[in-house]
């Protein structure tokens, strides 16, 4: 993985400023977007974008490929769905509960998985996720394959009426921006620098006196918590938590989003999530060809655009700058 990930530019300060201005631009676009685009669709994109960002934190900045991230996403969806529907909690508490549970689950699974690397790490996370899946099939509160349906959308913080899609959209946008800033802050903190050092050369990081496992574990828990936040939010948006969210196919989907967008880039996962979700929606009209078209896109991306959309753009930009300079 290490050599495949793309490091940002060598001038972190400039990159930082550039990232912030791009973010500001994105937020501006996002604020006006519901005027032209269906807000429920946008909310779905935001939830998956946050999920992909959380995943990218691990693969792009620590070099760990988790193939079980659906357990955090879907697990948190079930928790928030249950506390909101059955216990009557408010949505903000529901999302918080989902996030906290995902973090705890991340801590337990992280302790078990973090000592393995490469494909073995992926397989341990897959195995643990399958166990969570099994638990979700068997546990009575998850409602089997029907899932938890009709999760109510109560007013958030007792203020905003979430039954209105537009109002809810801005709440989701706020949650997403919060998640993004957490990740962005992490990447640019000293902690994030240590993570990158571990990705680039683990033995060296150890010899420099860093307790590598603790750093990895912390990153894993953070990633799990944010994935959980995305899942919990999605459960309330769609008023539904189902087995789809915890299945291994979902873990695969988030890999796909990150790959298409560009692994190890700040905005790649957002673009990837946007592209994949749009495709799923748009292709729904193609009926039986949906999966074939998805397969073709996979193949094309892997063969021709391995750095992902944002990664290729960055590389192109870099080339241009170099030519100029």
């Amino acid at each position: 993985m290490n050599n495949a990930a793309i490091t940002l530019t060598s001038q972190p300060a400039i990159a930082k400023n550039r990232d912030l201005s791009i973010l500001a631009m994105l937020v501006c676009i996002a604020i006006v977007a519901p005027l032209v685009i269906y807000p429920v669709f946008l909310m779905k994109v935001l939830c998956f974008a946050l999920f992909a960002l959380a995943f990218n934190l691990l693969i792009g900045y620590v070099g760990l490929l988790s193939f079980g991230h659906a357990m955090f996403f879907g697990g948190a969806a079930y928790i928030s769905g249950h506390v909101v529907k059955v216990w009557g909690w408010s949505p903000e508490l529901g999302i918080l509960a989902g996030t906290v549970c995902a973090a705890l689950l991340g801590l337990v699974t992280g302790v078990l998985a973090i000592r393995r690397q490469g494909i073995y790490f992926a397989m341990v996370t897959l195995a643990l996720a399958q166990m969570v899946f099994f638990f979700c099939v068997q546990a009575p509160f998850t409602g089997g394959e029907d899932g938890i349906q009709a999760i109510p959308r109560r007013p958030i913080l007792g203020l905003f009426d979430l039954s209105n899609d537009y109002a809810f959209y801005y709440v989701v946008l706020a949650i997403f921006t919060f998640g993004f800033l957490v990740i962005w802050r992490t990447i640019h903190s000293p902690f994030g620098q240590v993570l990158k050092a571990i990705r680039e050369n683990e033995p060296r990081a150890i010899s420099l006196g860093y307790r590598v496992e603790q750093y990895k574990l912390l990153a894993f828990v953070l990633s799990a918590a944010l994935a959980g936040m995305a899942g919990a939010t999605k459960a309330i948006v769609f008023q539904l938590a189902s087995l789809t969210d915890v299945s291994w196919q979902m873990s695969g989907e988030v890999v796909l989003m990150t790959l298409v967008g560009g692994m190890g880039t700040v905005f790649g996962p957002i673009v990837g999530a946007g592209v994949i979700i749009t495709m799923q929606n748009y292709l729904a009209g193609f009926g039986e060809w949906v999966l074939v078209i998805q397969g073709v896109i996979f193949v094309v991306v892997v063969l021709a655009f391995r750095k992902g959309i944002v990664g290729e753009l960055q590389a192109w930009w870099q080339r241009r700058q170099n030519q100029k300079g």
């Binding site: 669709f41 394959e145 349906q149 039986e288």
Partner: protein, 404 residues
């Protein structure tokens, strides 16, 4: 991508002109939402879209001045994808009615959204009897079959012909559990006995181990409370392991004619199951099947396809009578107040809990020697009149039904 939909709707709007001002945005838009690519793609899938279009054509919508449009989408058997499409259809694309929706989990989600948006949901594909039970809604009609009717039709007939002791192979998910529960109740109510059950992970490939457990139970009947590939695999392997030769009988609780086709008559012969419709019952059905097969690569229609056709016809009738499709609950109320009649399902009625009432058929799979033509697979053993075929109104726990 919404732009395209918007553009299409806008174009449709213009085309419709001002003549049909009474219909919301001038067009009656029917959305066929089903599994186009997965496990149930043969049971409904692209054929379902064809059936809906055929119904619109046969109804003579254009001649009656109704502007009808049929759109379709693939829910991939995932409730979140299904509910996403449904919301978008209702909010953006101005779809007025969603039909079909196999897979119970997706159907329950659509049921709820349809109620929230006050549109119409005509369920031909889903199995769960909850749609007319605890989850019933003033905007939903459950058309073709349900778990209760299947369990009742097959279970009762078998117990009455001497199959007293049962063992269940149950797919370990809500649908399988419901099928087992309903069948058990019928078996026990008719003097039969359940000797045991085994929960099989879904989806499964190898059932021989479970079949051996069923064999060891010495039950006369092995009830297959599963569907699709699970049912096919269980039956195929039961034949291989000599279960049927050993004197035990299989009962498929949910089977479609496409499953029989996949098994081949040699393996499937002698199986009993319950169906709402069979293509070779009468001339109308045969004509429909012939046209269907010509348009769908030689595949024959299932009861779900026929149910889509029938439900769309009745919906159009109600909309025409009301001269409006705007208020979903009103359309459904109108549909409930009129008797239904079409060439495939004949005469029927719709109960206040949203159950479409029609005759069900207990069928047996033919021996290879009895089959004269392609897809000539079933003989009808018994007609089950509507009032016996479906769950009594007061037992479903539907909140719409007034307690008397």
């Amino acid at each position: 991508m919404q732009f395209k939909y918007l553009a299409v709707s806008a174009a449709a709007l213009l085309a419709a002109g001002s003549a049909q001002a009474q219909y919301s945005d001038g067009v009656i838009k029917i959305g066929v939402l089903n599994d186009q690519s997965g496990l149930y793609a043969d049971v409904s899938g692209p054929g379902g879209t064809w059936a809906a279009k055929k119904a619109v054509e046969d109804y003579g919508a254009a001649a009656k001045g109704l502007k009808v449009e049929v759109v379709f989408a693939d829910h991939q058997n995932k409730p979140d994808i299904g509910s996403n499409i449904a919301r978008q259809w209702y909010d953006v694309d101005k779809v007025d009615v969603i039909v079909d929706v196999p897979t119970s989990s997706v159907a329950l989600a659509i049921n709820q959204i349809t109620k929230e948006k006050n549109k119409v949901f005509l369920g031909s594909g889903p199995a769960t009897a909850d749609l007319t039970g605890p989850a019933c809604s003033p905007n939903t009609i459950h058309w073709t079959y349900d778990t209760w009717a299947l369990a009742n039709g097959t279970g009762k007939a078998i117990v009455q012909t001497g199959g007293k002791t049962w063992f269940f192979l149950t797919a370990d998910y809500a649908f399988g559990h419901a099928l087992e529960r309903d069948t058990k109740a019928v078996v026990e109510a008719n003097g039969g006995k359940t000797l045991g059950a085994v929960r099989t992970p879904f989806p499964g490939t190898d059932f021989s181990s479970f079949l051996l457990q069923a064999q060891a139970s010495k039950a006369q009947i092995i009830g297959l409370a599963n569907a699709g590939g699970d049912t096919i695999n269980s039956i195929k392997q039961a034949a291989e392991f000599g279960i049927v030769e050993g004197g035990q009988k299989l009962a498929g609780m949910l089977m479609f004619i496409t499953d029989v086709h996949a098994l081949g008559l040699k393996t499937a012969q002698g199986l009993n199951f319950t169906t709402a419709w069979y293509w070779d019952l009468n001339d109308n059905n045969r004509a429909f099947a012939k046209e269907f097969a010509a348009a769908n690569g030689g595949k024959y229609p299932t009861m779900v396809h026929a149910g889509i056709y029938s439900s769309v016809i009745h919906y159009l009738k109600a909309v025409e009578a009301l001269k409006s499709d705007a208020d979903g609950a009103a359309v459904v109320a109108k549909m409930k107040s009129m008797p239904s009649e079409d060439k495939l399902f004949g005469k029927g009625t719709i109960r206040e809990d949203g159950r479409h009432m029609h005759t069900m058929y207990l069928v047996e799979v033919k021996k290879p020697s009895e089959s004269k033509a392609p897809w000539d697979y079933l003989t009808v053993k018994k007609e089950i009149p509507a009032e016996q075929a479906f769950r009594p109104l007061n037992e479903g726990g539907c909140p719409l039904v007034k307690k008397s």
